[in-house]
Symmetry: C2
Subunit: 432 residues, 2 copies
Amino acid sequence: MKNVKIGLIGFGTIGAGVVKILTENAEVIQQRLGASPCIGKIADLDITTERGVRVESGVLTTNVDEVLDDPEIEIVIELIGGYEPARSFVLKAIQNGKHVVTANKALLAKHGEEIFSAADEKGLGIGFEAAVGGAIPIIRSIREAFAANRFSAIEGIVNGTANYILSKMSDEKCDFQTALQEAQEKGYAEADPTFDIEGVDSAHKIAILTRLAYGAPISLEEITVEGITSITPEDIECAGEFGYRIKLLAISKYDGQAIDVRVHPAMIPVGHPMASVNGVLNAIRVCDDLMEENILVGHGAGSLPTGSAVVGDVMEIVRNSLVGAGTRVPAQSFQKTAPIPLKNMDEIESEYFLRFRVKDVPGVLAKISGILGNHSISIESMIQRGRDDNGKGVPLVMMVHRSNEKNVQDALIEIDRLDVVCGKSNLIRVEN
Amino acid sequence: MKNVKIGLIGFGTIGAGVVKILTENAEVIQQRLGASPCIGKIADLDITTERGVRVESGVLTTNVDEVLDDPEIEIVIELIGGYEPARSFVLKAIQNGKHVVTANKALLAKHGEEIFSAADEKGLGIGFEAAVGGAIPIIRSIREAFAANRFSAIEGIVNGTANYILSKMSDEKCDFQTALQEAQEKGYAEADPTFDIEGVDSAHKIAILTRLAYGAPISLEEITVEGITSITPEDIECAGEFGYRIKLLAISKYDGQAIDVRVHPAMIPVGHPMASVNGVLNAIRVCDDLMEENILVGHGAGSLPTGSAVVGDVMEIVRNSLVGAGTRVPAQSFQKTAPIPLKNMDEIESEYFLRFRVKDVPGVLAKISGILGNHSISIESMIQRGRDDNGKGVPLVMMVHRSNEKNVQDALIEIDRLDVVCGKSNLIRVEN
């Protein structure tokens, strides 16, 4: 049975998972693959910390070139994350004729064009199933299972940290800070959680999916990104009363003319399968002209789920290699990519959930609904609760019919200037 | 750009969908594939009925050998369904060196061993993504995305007709016959719905998934199959009160020793994503040692969803062919299959929902709970409703803690002999 030597750069949580899988599941891997992928070298700055997996002596090195320049290594797995030096390592691996597997969404979102082109030019495989949705087979599904389909929308709960926090706030009626702190204690959130809670990580992932789905390169700066830090327990409670759950969604829609790509909290009807995707689970919904919708749900992070996607990609590359093929499927799904115009956020239309904090005095609703009406926004339903006992105002929430984003934003600015309104109003878009 | 000629056997609903996709989505297919798959011949007994898609003259034939013996045809798509003559056609196509794509679950469930071996021996591709779950990429995911994983369970809502009927009964509180009739009127159920409502179609599909997941051939006769015809509106209502939805599940579990494979109605907690999979949607849940669970949801039937899976398989074969490979992945996921013992249904353990119809007299509960206790079955909760106005008895339903199947079956036989029990009792297993 053929041995295939693998080099691993980055021996953190996922790296240790990959080594564990290649060791402990070696038998089933061989039974399916007819070959034996094994770790040849592991490069990391820290080669002394115990990772809980057995590694043969001489395998660990602090010198990444021992991986990149080793002629016996056919596949390089990059798991250090971030833009640099990951970019340089991946490009050098390709330059040296090695296939690459990476879980690095930031890298592919920012430098995808350069990396995919380099791999395609050399006829080398680049596997990145682990970069979006962890164990969820979304990359493979878009590139292969749905290869004949014209996509109209990709929507995903693609950040487990944010989903854990929102689920916690929803189930336990706690506030954002409490939920974040518990996520950090449980290891679901980093010490610096900015990328997760501000939606940046989700933006990386939707940029990658946009490229694959429509064949369009997209730059990160063009994506409208709103995080979950302004979501309150009241929002979640009112959403529930209106029949919705709040999720951080990464959205990419294409109407054949322009792409509408954004990341923000959104209200999903409770009866929809994605509304029940809670905790650290991820879910990605794909819509197209043929199959209407397909939803994939699974663990989007973690050592073994993400490791399983990495090893699946390694096995795909070995399978190609065994039949003498470098690569079968273009890295970006299309033979060639071509820019597609982006829709301006001002142009989108949606139903909205609006939350105001208002003084508990007569005539408030008349003033607010008057301004909404002037901006062609019509109210579908409304809840006003409690009395103002502490002078901080009372919450007033409403659902409004399908409206234009700019109209809603303009109306909110105007409403926030009213003397009966205390503090900044908030909106949450509805995705049906 | 290379043209790849395809022969189609069976020009029904899905066949017409495939032709429509290859025609209308030709541009995106070429942009992704770098080749152009096109229909060379279509064989069907009926070549006069209008299918709503344009076919060039000379393409249609009633003589299947014009497809099977055409040297220009590289890929044969079999869409006639059933065991024979589908089996002979597929084997002859392979004999003649043609790759095969099929949506025929009955054929692969019964003759999989013969067909997969024939394809593997000739080094030809056999695509059957459309055979299970329509547009849901479950075959590809098990064979490729989760290739390193040791599966412990596959559970699926894999029959859209049964799911439509149960959803209808649940949403509209109607009985089985009314829901079935509406399914037939809407075209979701055949004139003879036996295979769908009795669970046979689901058994075909779980047999295929069992083979792929564990590398074990399995004969259809070994699968315990119960349909949905005995589910009543009362069952559904009580399930709701206990916090569950009733779904027809195809289940295949493997504990490393034996496989437990069965098809029956099951209660799923309302908060689980699969409980919200309603109407004609299908869902398949995969559990393993690495990623915990992965759930795929989508349309399991219909012209375009199923057609999209067929064309996806065609594109995969063309991609292999373009790099000079016949096939990369073993048809059955494993290089070799080997039998695994099956668990006897008597041995399984589950929580159960039990429904009795009893006389409205004192002492009934004591008698029933006494028998359950004697069989080591302990009651978790109970609902008894209404008074006996028409002498037909009143429903008594209960949830019981984890128990052995044989104990429960024996207890029900004994309970049904009680003079206070009117009619046959029913059980529904709980899947958490």
